[in-house]
Symmetry: C4
Subunit: 217 residues, 4 copies
């Protein structure tokens, strides 16, 4: 496991990597990781490829219904991410070790393919090897990721995201229409692996549909 | 705020980043930033991923109808960017802190989608979370970015760009048909955030159209 | 030839490069190289862009029907890659010097184009200069790469992959439907060159089909 | 101008950059630059992102009908690039300062769009700002790049490429069907700028065609 002292730098490094993948451009998206001493989280509305370790918040993991700051960042202008209650859904309901929020255009296109008017629904794929990177899934299973409708403020997604988590105990992700995806896992490595596999599955499914080779979408 | 002494290096670093994003290939595109002592601007027609801090011009911010060089670059062969009067439109009319000019292929495709013959018009999108990265916009608003027709010389765009800025007080960008986009903001961070969000919105809108999932284009 | 002492670091470097190409995201894919002292192989289920030289296994090249570990990695939690019997197919049947396994989305799309239901078949292309990067092929030849059906466990592919290798003596690659591609060569450079050329051919063929410019798919 | 002593390192640096752009994967493509003492050229069939300065050949610029090696690379196994007579076409007929050969998939798709059976023809675009990066072209001109048919051996292209150069005095590039593009310029910067602008124009034209927004292809 990664030591708490290394988590702020790891968060910065992962944010730079996610920027390269197109997941966190325009200050969107982010990542949080649960450590021994609390939940480490990047701040709101900052350039994700440029955050520094001293910008990272540590939040109280024993208060998952609220938001208690244990260690604020050096710069007092920084605010806790708007995603905090959504990240906490996964920590509280699934005992997650890390949560990633991506604005990948593939997530948005995949959600639109299955929910053309942004309504609640579910993304589906099957027959793809990368499904194996998802908890408990094989390449011949049908993977269903819930899609929830977007809301004007990110925090307003909290309840419907919790509903989707409850209704889909077999997957560790929730798509938000027109917005992106939340993905988690027992550790930051599992969360990142699932996020990469899902991004691949979203892209492959969209491309197969575009080629007329996906019968079911 | 970034200190003036650091602005030339910052401009070089951002140009390398924009090159990686496909915004400034083939010497096109660029960025300028307003500092305490003047407006810092990359030179014309140079490889943007290879400019050095000593190549950057400083122009007089008190003469926004003209073009007065306060500090020329070390290399006397370098000329002020052709974009200078267009950058100055945003400094003069909007009190911008920075202006970015991108030749992203997504900007060109998005403009063509809404102005098939390169005529004046406006790009539209709605229902996308990344709209929140634009000043005053929510994810359920309709975003309209003006499109102006291209001209043989870049400086000839000055007047029509000024007209579009005046006619669209709610947005900080102007698309140029077949050419690219000008984006600005109060600071270089706001300008870059809006440029990244717009590039994402252009791409998502083009891809949704291609998938037949965008009813309104 | 690369010295054995340098192979673990080379494997890490190539894995980072393949990650950038989109071949090994989500811990999938990998590479193994035959050295003087044995076969060097990345471990199973780890982030390929982050493996370290001490994570690499050395397996006995004189036991190509089994799997004898000569040197285990420093971390005893690491397991031999699931791909090991598939890699060994190429070492045993073709005397390969290196084998690459890519999950590139282009390989998956190309296989689906020719085997729409994931059934055995073959990918075809012709008239492309990059075919020259494949052993014995010219740009006017027709290249045929066998496609085998995927199986729930990677090791279950061993027999059908061996059959495809035997049936296609003129090529050094096997596509797996919904999964990716195995590519090999006499040296790691030849294997990598063929893997890059094939990825290009998969992409070009898919894109030409999408443009309606490929008569034969 | 770049000094001769710096040209081998510059060629390596540009090859790494071109690899990142997808122009020289699978050992294909390359660049040569004319210096004071001769023509500097990367060797044949090597991984372009990994060549070292000592791998670069220097050829005699006073013998442009032949191929006289002035300085061979340190490694005596390396051979002069197959592209040498094609590079020399541009040096001899146009007094070029540098020639780039790219295998970009966009060049191949663009050529196929205008020559669906690989026959001689010409690529066309108009109305795009990036045309200004080409010698003597404005954004409202129609740009025509000759397309020649591919041949089994690269050297067999010499004559038809020379014919295309003669027939199109207004452009500094020749497309080869199914293969890629040769681009040159008075200096390596001009050659690279034109190569980047052309790659952009190829991509934009293909994408516009795919969107049904290009009336003339």
């Amino acid at each position: 496991m990664t030591r708490d002292a290394d988590l702020p730098a790891l968060i910065c490094e992962l944010c730079r990597q996610f920027y390269g993948l197109g997941w966190v451009s325009g200050t969107g998206g982010g990542i949080s990781i649960r450590g021994e001493s609390g939940i480490f989280m990047a701040p709101s509305g900052v350039q994700k490829e440029r955050i520094a370790p001293e910008d990272v918040f540590v939040l109280d993991a024993s208060d998952l219904s609220g938001c208690t700051v244990l260690t604020p960042p050096a710069n007092s202008n920084l605010r806790v991410s708007e995603c905090q209650p959504l990240f906490f859904n996964a920590y509280r309901m699934r005992d997650a070790g890390a949560v990633i929020h991506s604005h990948s255009v593939w997530a948005v296109l995949a959600a639109r393919l299955f929910s053309p008017r942004g309504e609640p629904g579910s993304f589906e794929c099957q027959g793809l090897e990368m499904q194996k990177g998802l908890r408990g899934k094989g390449c011949f299973d049908t993977v269903r990721i819930p899609i929830i409708a977007n809301t004007p403020r990110e925090a307003q997604l909290t309840e419907s995201m919790a509903g989707a988590i409850e209704a889909h105990p077999d997957v560790d992700a929730v798509l938000v229409a027109g917005h992106g995806v939340y993905v988690w896992g027992d550790t930051w490595i599992k969360a990142k692996t699932q996020a990469e596999c899902l991004d691949y599955l979203f892209r492959a499914t969209v491309e197969l549909h575009r080629l007329g080779l996906q019968g079911d979408a």
